[in-house]
C-alpha cells in the first residue's frame, strides 16, 4: 500500500519486567498513605525513595547515575506508579524529558552534574516552553537571550509552568536576540538553557487552575543571567532539541492511565453481575485501555531499539486523551451523582476531579489539533 502506516508491532515484555512489577507493587503498598487520585502531588521524600530503588533514570548510562535497565522495566515502574496515583511530580519531568534531553545534547559537565542528581530524586525539573503568546505555536516564543560576558542575559515571560514554584531547574526555551528584523526561518535562533530557578531576576507567580489548585505558574524573567556552562546544546539548535524533548514527553504512558482509579471505582459500583448495558459500556472502556496499553508497550519496544516513534506517540496520546475524557462522561451516564470535590464518597469526589481535570488532557504536551497535525504529517499530507 502506498500510504505509510504507523508501526505498532506486538511486543512481549521480557521476564525481568515481570520481576520488577512485583517489587514496585510491594513498594507502593509500603507507601500507600501517599497515593492519591489525579492530583500531581510533589513529594521530594517519595522521589528520593524512588531514586534509592533505582527507579529514576532507569535506562540512562550508569556513569551518569542511571541504571541501564530496559525501556520495558521503566515502562512497568511508571505504569504501576501512575495507576496507584503515586506522587511523581518532583522527579517525573526530569526522568521523562529533561534528563533524556541532556543525555542527548548536554555537555559532559552537565551530564555529570545533573543526571545523577535527577536519578537520585534530588533535583526537580520543570518545562519552560509555553508563553502568554506562544502556546501551540512554540516557534513564536518571545523570550530573548543576549550574549554577555561569561554567559547570557535573558528577558521574557513563561506561562503554564507546572511546579516552577517547587522545582529546582527549568529547561528554558527561548531565542537569541537578533537584529530586530523578522527572521525568514521561524525556528532560527531557538536555544535552550538550564535555568536555576533561584537565579536573581526571576519572579514566579502562581496561576490557580479551575480546581482551585496551584500547579501552574507565570515566570517573569528580568535580565536573568545564565552562565555559559548552562547553555544546553548549541545556540540556534533549540528547535531540533525541543522537538526531541516533546517526543520524550509524548511517548509516556501517563496519557491514558491517570484516571484508571476512576474506571476501577466504576467497576466497583457495577458490582459482580451488572446489567448488559452497563457491562458493555465498561467493556468498551476496558477494551480501549487494553489496546492503548499494548500500543504504548510497542512504543517502549521502539525506544528500546533506539528508534524515534514520534508519530506513533502522537497517535497514542490522541487516542489516550479521548479515552480518558470519555471516562467521566460514561461514569455520569452509568452512575449519576452531583459532583463534589471534597465528598466523603470516593466515587463522587473522583467524578468531580476527573470532570474538571478532563479538559487539560487534550491540551498539555501538545493539543489534540497539534497532535493530529503531526499524524497528518506522518501520513505525508503536510
Amino acid at each position: 500500500m502506498a500510504t505509510p502506516t504507523f508501526r505498532f508491532d506486538p511486543v512481549e515484555m521480557p521476564p525481568e519486567a515481570r520481576e520488577i512489577r512485583k517489587e514496585v507493587r510491594a513498594f507502593i503498598k509500603e507507601h500507600e498513605h501517599l497515593m492519591g487520585f489525579s492530583r500531581g502531588e510533589f513529594n521530594r521524600d517519595f522521589s528520593r525513595a524512588m531514586g534509592k530503588k533505582g527507579w529514576i533514570g532507569m535506562t540512562w548510562p550508569k556513569q551518569y547515575g542511571g541504571h541501564e535497565r530496559t525501556s520495558f522495566e521503566r515502562y512497568v515502574v511508571i505504569e504501576e506508579m501512575l495507576v496507584a496515583g503515586a506522587p511523581l511530580s518532583a522527579h517525573y519531568t526530569g526522568d521523562r524529558q529533561s534528563g533524556p534531553n541532556m543525555l542527548r545534547f548536554g555537555t559532559e559537565e552537565q551530564k555529570n552534574y545533573f543526571l545523577p542528581r535527577i536519578a537520585a530524586g534530588e533535583l526537580a525539573f520543570c518545562i519552560g516552553m509555553s508563553e502568554p503568546n506562544s502556546g501551540s505555536d512554540l516557534a513564536g516564543t518571545r523570550t530573548r537571550a543576549v550574549k554577555v560576558d561569561g554567559g547570557y542575559k535573558i528577558n521574557g515571560t513563561k506561562l503554564w509552568t507546572s511546579n516552577a514554584h517547587r522545582a529546582d531547574y527549568a529547561i528554558l526555551f527561548c531565542k537569541m536576540s537578533g537584529d530586530g528584523k523578522e527572521e525568514p526561518d521561524r525556528h532560527a535562533g531557538a536555544t535552550q538553557f538550564l535555568l536555576d530557578l533561584k537565579t536573581p531576576g526571576l519572579d514566579i507567580r502562581p496561576v490557580i487552575n479551575l480546581l482551585g489548585e496551584h500547579h501552574f505558574n507565570e515566570i517573569f524573567l528580568t535580565d536573568v543571567f545564565v552562565p555559559d556552562n548552562r547553555l544546553l546544546g548549541k545556540e540556534g539548535n533549540g528547535w531540533n532539541q525541543v522537538t526531541s524533548e516533546l517526543s520524550f514527553e509524548r511517548s509516556a504512558p501517563d496519557r491514558f492511565l491517570v484516571l484508571f482509579q476512576m474506571l476501577r471505582e466504576m467497576l466497583r459500583m457495577a458490582g459482580p453481575t451488572p446489567d448488559k448495558a452497563t457491562a458493555a459500556a465498561l467493556g468498551k472502556l476496558i477494551s480501549q485501555l487494553a489496546t492503548l496499553r499494548s500500543m504504548s508497550i510497542s512504543i517502549a519496544g521502539m525506544l528500546q531499539e533506539g528508534l524515534n516513534p514520534n508519530n506513533e506517540a502522537a497517535v497514542v496520546k490522541d487516542l489516550g486523551t479521548r479515552y480518558e475524557q470519555d471516562i467521566p462522561v460514561v461514569a455520569r451516564q452509568l452512575f449519576p451523582t452531583e459532583p463534589e470535590l471534597e465528598a466523603i464518597d470516593l466515587y463522587t469526589s473522583m467524578i468531580a476531579r476527573s470532570t474538571m481535570n478532563a479538559p487539560r488532557f487534550s491540551i498539555q504536551g501538545g493539543t489534540r489539533e497539534i497532535l493530529r497535525g503531526i499524524i497528518a504529517r506522518g501520513l505525508g499530507l503536510r
Partner: protein
C-alpha cells in the same frame, strides 16, 4: 522486531498473489453469485488454507498468528473467498479425526442461537436443526459443523451440503451467507466424532470472531490507504483537499483508529497461545470490541473524505466498507463482545482489573 522472517515472506507472497488474482473485477464478479474459482485455486495452491494442520494431516504445522496475518492481507484485497472458514473448518475436522478438503470449506454454527443435534441411529447418526448465515455454504466442498450429541459436542463433516436444505442468503457485501437446515438427515458413523483438541462451539465462535476482527483490521488499512491517496489527488479550491486542515484532522483520526484496530486484533491473536481459556476469551472480546468501534468511526471518515465518488459502485472504497459493516456484526457485534469484556471484568472484581490487564 517481533515479526519473524517466515511470517514476512508468507505475507509478501500472499500480497503478490492477491495483487495478481484479486482485482476489483474479481471482487465485483463474485458479488453476482459466481464463486471466485481462479482466485481460490491460486490461494489453495499455496497450502495456506490448511497450513495450520499437522504435517500428518496434510498441513504444515503453521503458526496461527501467521495465518491470521494472512487473513488480514486477504481482507485488504476484499478477497471474496472463505479463507478464514476453510482454516477453521480444517482445524475442527482434523483435530477430531475427520476428513478435510483442498476445496473451499465452511464451518459452523456461526451464531450462538443456532442449535444442531445429533441422535444415534443404528451405528450412524441423524442430524437435525439449522445453521443460519453460514458463510459460503453454497460453494463449499465440505461443511464442518459442531452439533450437540447424546454425550456432548460432536464435529460433523459433510460432503458439500450433505443432504441439508440450503437457503441462499448474503451479507451486505454480497458474500454468501446461507442457511443450512437438517431434518433428521442420516449420517454414517465416520461423519461425526466427539470434539477433541480444544475444539468446541465456544472455541469456534471465539476464533471466528477473531478472524473477523483481523480481517476488519485489514479492510480498515485498505480504506485508509484509499482515503489518504484520494485526498492527495482530489483537487478543490485549486489545491488537493489533503491540504485543508479539516481534512487532515479527519485523516489523522482515521489513521489512529486503523492503528488501534490492528493493535487490538494482534492482542487477540497473541491470546491464542494463552493457556487460560478465560484469558483467551477476554482478549478476543477486547479485540472484537475495539475493532468494531474503530470500524464504525473509520468508515464514516473514509466516506466523508471521498465525497460522492466513494458512494458509487464503480469506486473501490465500498468493497472495504460494506465488508466492514457486515463483518462488524458477524460472530457477534462489538456491543455483544463489549458486554462480555465488562461482565468478565466485573465478575473478577474491581481490584482485579489492573492485574487482569497486566499479568498476561
Amino acid at each position: 522486531m517481533a515479526i519473524r522472517d517466515e511470517t514476512r515472506m508468507l505475507l509478501e507472497s500472499m500480497n503478490r498473489l492477491f495483487e495478481d488474482h484479486c482485482t476489483k473485477q474479481v471482487a465485483d464478479a463474485a458479488e453476482t453469485g459466481v464463486f471466485a474459482r481462479t482466485l481460490w485455486d491460486a490461494v489453495a495452491e499455496t497450502g495456506v488454507p490448511l497450513a495450520a494442520l499437522p504435517e500428518s494431516a496434510g498441513g504444515a504445522d503453521a503458526e496461527w498468528s501467521d495465518l491470521y496475518a494472512a487473513l488480514r492481507v486477504a481482507a485488504r484485497f476484499s478477497a471474496p473467498i472463505p479463507l478464514a472458514e476453510t482454516m477453521l473448518a480444517g482445524w475442527a475436522a482434523a483435530a477430531c479425526g475427520l476428513e478435510t478438503s483442498d476445496g473451499p470449506m465452511t464451518v459452523g454454527p456461526v451464531r450462538m442461537a443456532d442449535t444442531l443435534t445429533l441422535a444415534r441411529d443404528g451405528n450412524g447418526w441423524r442430524l437435525s436443526g439449522a445453521a443460519t448465515r453460514l458463510p459460503y455454504a453454497s460453494f463449499a466442498t465440505r461443511v464442518v459443523l459442531i452439533a450437540d450429541g447424546p454425550d456432548g459436542e460432536m464435529v460433523v463433516g459433510l460432503n458439500g451440503t450433505g443432504g441439508g436444505d440450503l437457503a441462499a442468503g448474503k451479507n451486505i457485501a454480497n458474500e454468501a451467507r446461507d442457511t443450512l437446515s437438517f431434518n433428521h438427515v442420516r449420517l454414517s458413523s465416520d461423519q461425526a466424532a466427539p470434539v477433541k483438541g480444544g475444539v468446541s462451539r465456544g472455541a469456534l465462535y471465539r476464533r471466528g470472531a477473531l478472524a473477523r476482527a483481523t480481517m476488519m483490521s485489514g479492510a480498515l488499512e485498505k480504506a485508509m490507504d484509499l482515503a489518504v491517496t484520494y485526498a492527495q489527488e482530489r483537487q478543490q479550491f485549486g489545491r488537493p483537499i489533503s491540504k485543508f486542515q479539516a481534512v487532515q484532522q479527519n485523516l489523522a483520526v482515521l489513521a489512529g483508529q486503523t492503528a488501534a484496530a490492528v493493535a487490538a486484533a494482534n492482542l487477540g491473536i497473541e491470546a491464542l497461545s494463552e493457556a487460560d481459556p478465560d484469558r483467551e476469551e477476554f482478549l478476543i472480546a477486547v479485540a472484537k470490541t475495539r475493532v468494531g468501534e474503530a470500524a464504525t468511526l473509520a468508515c464514516e471518515i473514509a466516506h466523508q473524505v471521498h465525497g460522492a465518488i466513494g458512494f458509487t459502485k464503480e469506486y473501490a472504497l465500498q468493497l472495504s466498507t460494506r465488508r466492514l459493516w457486515s463483518w462488524r456484526e458477524e460472530f457477534g457485534g462489538d456491543p455483544e463482545w463489549a458486554a462480555k469484556v465488562g461482565a468478565y471484568a466485573c465478575r473478577r472484581g474491581a481490584d482485579a482489573l489492573w492485574p487482569l490487564l497486566t499479568d498476561g
